[in-house]
Symmetry: C2
Subunit: 201 residues, 2 copies
């Protein structure tokens, strides 16, 4: 889409368009919303942007996002420090927290091992994970990297490395999503569902 608006509006459309998942049409709609919005609400957005850059950092223990040295989960004395769930990104922590099933701690790798993108174990918080396991307090490591190629490769790598630590390692189950239709499941997922079948009686 050629730049047809005058300076400031086009600049804002371009800036919004640089955000992930925002196409030119969305960027335009957002810019017009800002144009029509009252100044107070625009200032609130600006304050929120500034606050994130100024206040948010990564938890020194687990790598999750935090506003102090440690994140809210690591600081919470009710969490079970004997279990560590390893995930790729802070948003995975949020996804798991939403289930309300898990009461242990996390370890955020900051990505997955991906040779094509040049991401190796040293680019992730793998060393920090082993340092945490060194204390001897941890009784289980749950590998919750994504069930895609790089996530599986990362889980396989960590499984191999963790053998030296004599701590039980588990991997989240793969299988059919709840509420899905068997007919439309891809072969790999269906194969995993067979492989991981559980006796019910």
């Amino acid at each position: 889409m050629p730049a047809v608006y005058e300076g400031a509006v086009q600049d804002l459309i371009d800036e919004f368009g640089d955000l992930p998942g925002i196409g030119p049409k969305s960027a335009q709609r957002m810019a017009f919303h800002i144009l029509a919005a009252d100044s107070a609400s625009v200032e609130r957005l600006i304050d929120a942007l500034r606050a994130v850059k100024a206040r948010v950092r990564f938890c020194a223990t687990c790598g999750n996002i935090a506003e102090s040295e440690q994140c809210a989960i690591c600081r919470d004395p009710r969490r079970d420090g004997r279990v560590i769930c390893v995930v790729e990104e802070p948003k995975d922590v949020v996804a798991i927290e939403r289930t309300r099933e898990y009461r242990g701690l996390y370890h955020v790798l900051g990505g997955a091992i991906d040779p094509i993108s040049g991401v190796g174990p040293d680019d992730l918080r793998v060393r920090e994970l082993f340092a945490r396991l060194g204390s001897g307090e941890v009784e289980e490591v749950i590998l919750a990297t994504d069930p895609d190629v790089v996530g599986e490769a990362t889980a396989a790598y960590l499984t191999r490395m963790l053998r030296t630590m004599s701590v039980p390692v588990s991997r989240l189950a793969s299988g059919l999503p709840v509420g899905s239709d068997l007919e439309y499941a891809d072969e790999v997922t269906l194969g995993r569902a067979f492989e991981g079948r559980r006796r019910v009686e």
Copy 2:
């Protein structure tokens, strides 16, 4: 989605989520992008937001967005002042400019007449349109409001009101979109295409 991030990140997700067309997932992805972005690019976004609020206003003549008293189109001496194309919003101006077919001026109403939302002619720049026609320079008014219910109602209202001005009034053609498939056209569009058929030989 419950607020599970710590303060600043959640605040930014909420602010992004208030923008039009941005759901919770997109807002989260955008906030994480900001978190990871370098400060300079975030400052560019903040500057663009501020600049829009500080510098952009509406053209005193046509109501299009402008950075001075008049918009770039009204200031352009190459535009044909004898034709005025009436549109609902500044983005409609952009859509028409993109065709490179039209060399006249515009009049941006700032919306459409919509009794359900309580928008009447006095809430739009209708009086300003009549003031422009008063000069006697204008030889054609093209009604380019959207071909939806409120746009058609607005065009019908303006047609009636413009009868007193003895200036030719036209309406953009309705019909089949170029490149579309007749089979999938809705009945109203197909009916309009018949109604507006043109002799080719």
